[in-house]
């Protein structure tokens, strides 16, 4: 697993003092290229949202000022999502601790997940069309609980495969029955 983007993030004292849920340690980040995938997603969302609201206001489906307010809201939302996308990608991180996999994501709605390696049931590697073009893959760690939801996006292909093999071998040594 050698990727320039997997650099260690030093503990920022200001952040530790803040009211954020922060777990210290050597967080690995996902590839910067993943921002591209996010941007494409936001662009598609914006296209649909703005297009739909525009059609509705032009055909006078909505009362006149209200329709244009909706269009404005769609434009603003899309712009905000564009602006936030790089930070959202940077907020995604994971670390392999001794006994568990830590995963975090989200800025406004932040989540930190801990999965003991032994709870692994299977690992999925998925590649969407844009991600495949950029040479990225998405790794999903599946446990017996549906709510676990550990999906690490934006891994470089070779990294994803290596990480999968590491996780599988770690799970094998710490296997626990259901």
């Amino acid at each position: 697993m050698s990727d320039h983007s997997n650099d260690a993030v030093p503990l920022d004292p200001a952040r530790v003092r803040s009211k954020r849920v922060e777990v210290g340690g050597d967080w690995r980040r996902v590839s910067r290229k993943y921002i591209g995938v996010e941007l494409v997603g936001v662009a598609l969302f914006g296209l649909v949202a703005i297009g739909a609201t525009l059609v509705f206001s032009l055909t006078r489906w909505f009362a006149q000022p209200f329709g244009w307010i909706l269009v404005g809201a769609a434009v603003v939302t899309t712009l905000v999502m564009f602006a936030v996308a790089p930070r959202r990608v940077r907020s995604i991180g994971y670390q392999l601790r001794d006994d568990d996999l830590l995963f975090r994501r989200g800025i406004m709605f932040h989540r930190v997940v801990s999965v003991p390696y032994g709870r692994m049931q299977l690992i999925d590697i998925n590649r969407g069309p844009v991600a495949r073009f950029l040479g990225l893959a998405e790794l999903r760690f599946v446990t017996a609980a549906a709510a676990t939801g550990v999906t690490i996006p934006g891994l470089v292909d070779s990294d994803a495969d290596a990480l999968r093999d590491t996780l599988v071998s770690l799970a094998e040594t710490r296997r626990a029955g259901l």
């Binding site: 009211k19 709870r119 676990t148």
Partner: protein
């Protein structure tokens, strides 16, 4: 555990057949009804064919007049005969085998199925005796393993054998052997003793005895461990449920509407809702009548049902989360209910709902007993006060080493009433979560069964320096999640619980899933769950 003695395999490890009445019970009764119906209709015609004098104008009459009756009868009889042969063949081809590693079932005539369930993966065994099957002295046995539709059904078996078969399977699956050799002899004598005591002479006498026999064989479990529910309390608990409140509200609304003299045609819209509601009550009652929960040597056994009886045995360590809860209306009576999350979806009785209710309604003493059965480690004297505190009190209970870590005072902005009760505790290998002031809940999750845990924080919670802690378990009615916890405290708890989960998982690995430790089992990762 002095000397590993492999128990004798049921049927000597050979392929066995099911109860001869299986085809009848599985749908053959419909076939017989068809035969009966046709015979009843045709009989007169047959008589008339010899006596003469036809009258009437139905289908058979037409056929008779046109001279096709013989053909029609031949076709119908041929189809029926084919059906009978098919049923018989399916019975002949449906065999099962139990060896010391797995239970295997082969079935199907044209499309053969061969299903194999490893013994160390069994999540529970359910025995169901539908009413008609009970008349025949037959029972259905279901082994559930984790996963969707992952169960092995043996339908139908001889009713008197089925309990022993369950015992044998679980004994093969567990690693206890030395003392079981003795216990098995005792149980076998007991199980076989009761029906045969009437005498081998009368088949009917035996059926009657089996029908009247108590749902739980008294020799199977020590009586002090058995928890039962009186029908009166069951009726009371149903009357005091939220559904009743809803029905009352609807009734009042309807009466008011009627009194004001409106049109009542729209009432027909409520017919489906009414049927659904009645079904809910009937299901609740049938699932809780004659309910008993007891500790048997094989695990916790839950039995219920009046006409169709079911019982479900959970081997130790198969319970993923437990919730003790109290609906609002039960509070004056101090009644509680317990439900669990489990991996196996053993369908018991009608429908495919897993049996997750461990106590439909009970007093505080019953809760104590049932928790003792479900989580033996939790019911020690040290942690009893925790359970009590988790059930009824809020805030701190002074004087004990382990206590609930409560939510901070600033949580009242988000949970104005229940913030005092919101709290968690780590007692040995179990995580306890307490919440709800109006609907009181206490959730217990064994650390070894936690699949993952996560902390969530939204913008409101961040402003108040709070966060939400969730323990993920297998799907089920219990959700182990606590909001409005202190951020710093829950970070510590997050670490502690994740360490406990890892340690408990590692410790337990292999303790309850080894079939025969004397034999080396090659690792089969693709089979592991």
């Amino acid at each position: 555990m002095t000397e590993p003695v492999a128990p004798p395999l049921p049927g000597g490890g050979e392929w066995l057949r099911l109860h001869p009445a299986t085809p009848l019970l599985k749908g053959g009764i419909a076939l017989i009804a068809v035969i009966g119906f046709i015979l009843a209709n045709v009989r007169e015609r047959l008589i008339e064919a010899f006596v003469g004098g036809p009258d009437g104008g139905d289908l058979i009459e037409e056929l008779y007049l046109r001279g096709h009756l013989g053909w029609a009868i031949a076709i119908v009889l041929g189809a029926l005969l084919l059906g009978v042969v098919a049923f018989f063949l399916s019975w002949r081809m449906h065999t099962y085998r139990i060896n010391d590693e797995a239970v295997e079932v082969r079935s199907g005539i044209l499309f053969r199925t061969h299903r194999q369930a490893r013994l160390d993966r069994i999540q529970g065994i359910a025995i169901t005796r539908p009413f008609i099957a009970r008349l025949f002295g037959a029972a259905r046995l279901e082994l559930s393993v984790a996963g969707q539709d992952a169960k092995v059904q043996l339908a139908y078996l001889k009713g008197s054998d089925v309990d022993r078969l369950r015992h044998d399977i679980l004994m093969l699956a567990s690693a206890r052997r030395a003392e079981e050799g003795v216990a098995q002899g005792a149980t076998a004598g007991g199980a076989a003793g009761s029906p045969d005591a009437v005498g081998p002479d009368s088949l009917i006498g035996r059926r009657v005895t089996e029908l009247l026999a108590p749902e739980l064989d008294p020799q199977e479990a020590p009586p002090q461990s058995v928890v039962r529910i009186s029908p009166l309390r069951l009726a009371g608990s149903l009357l005091a449920s939220g559904a009743t409140l809803f029905v009352l509200v609807v009734a009042v609304v309807l009466i008011v509407v009627t009194a004001t003299g409106r049109e009542l045609g729209f009432l027909f819209l409520f017919v489906p809702a009414f049927i659904g509601g009645a079904g809910y009550y009937v299901r609740k009652v049938t699932r809780s009548l004659r309910f008993s929960i007891a500790a048997t040597p094989d695990g916790v056994r839950v039995g219920y049902g009046l006409l169709t009886t079911s019982n479900d045995t959970l081997p130790p360590g198969r319970i993923h989360a437990i919730e003790v809860y109290q609906p609002l209306l039960w509070r004056p009576f101090d009644w509680w209910a317990i439900r669990i999350n489990r991996a196996g979806h053993a369908s018991s009785g009608s429908g495919s709902q897993p049996a997750t209710t461990m106590l439909p309604v009970g007093t505080r003493g019953d809760v104590d007993k049932v928790l003792g059965l479900l989580l033996p480690g939790l019911a020690s004297a040290d942690t009893r006060h925790l359970i009590l505190a988790g059930m009824v009190s809020s805030g701190q209970t002074p004087g004990f080493a382990v206590d609930f870590v409560a939510a901070p005072r600033r949580a009242r902005w988000l949970r104005p009433f229940s913030w005092r009760r919101t709290g968690y505790a780590l007692a040995g290998d179990t995580v306890l979560l307490r919440k709800g002031l109006v609907w009181r809940q206490l959730v217990a999750v064994p650390a070894a069964r936690i699949q993952s845990l996560h902390l969530d924080q939204g913008p409101l919670a961040r402003a108040l320096d709070l966060c939400t802690l969730t323990l993920d378990t297998v799907a089920g009615p219990v959700s182990a999640s606590l909001s409005v916890l202190d951020r710093a405290g829950s970070l510590t708890a997050f670490d502690a619980i994740s360490r406990a989960a890892t340690a408990a998982g590692a410790l337990e690995d292999g303790s309850h899933r080894v079939a025969l430790p004397t034999r080396h089992q090659p690792p089969r990762p693709e089979n592991e769950r």
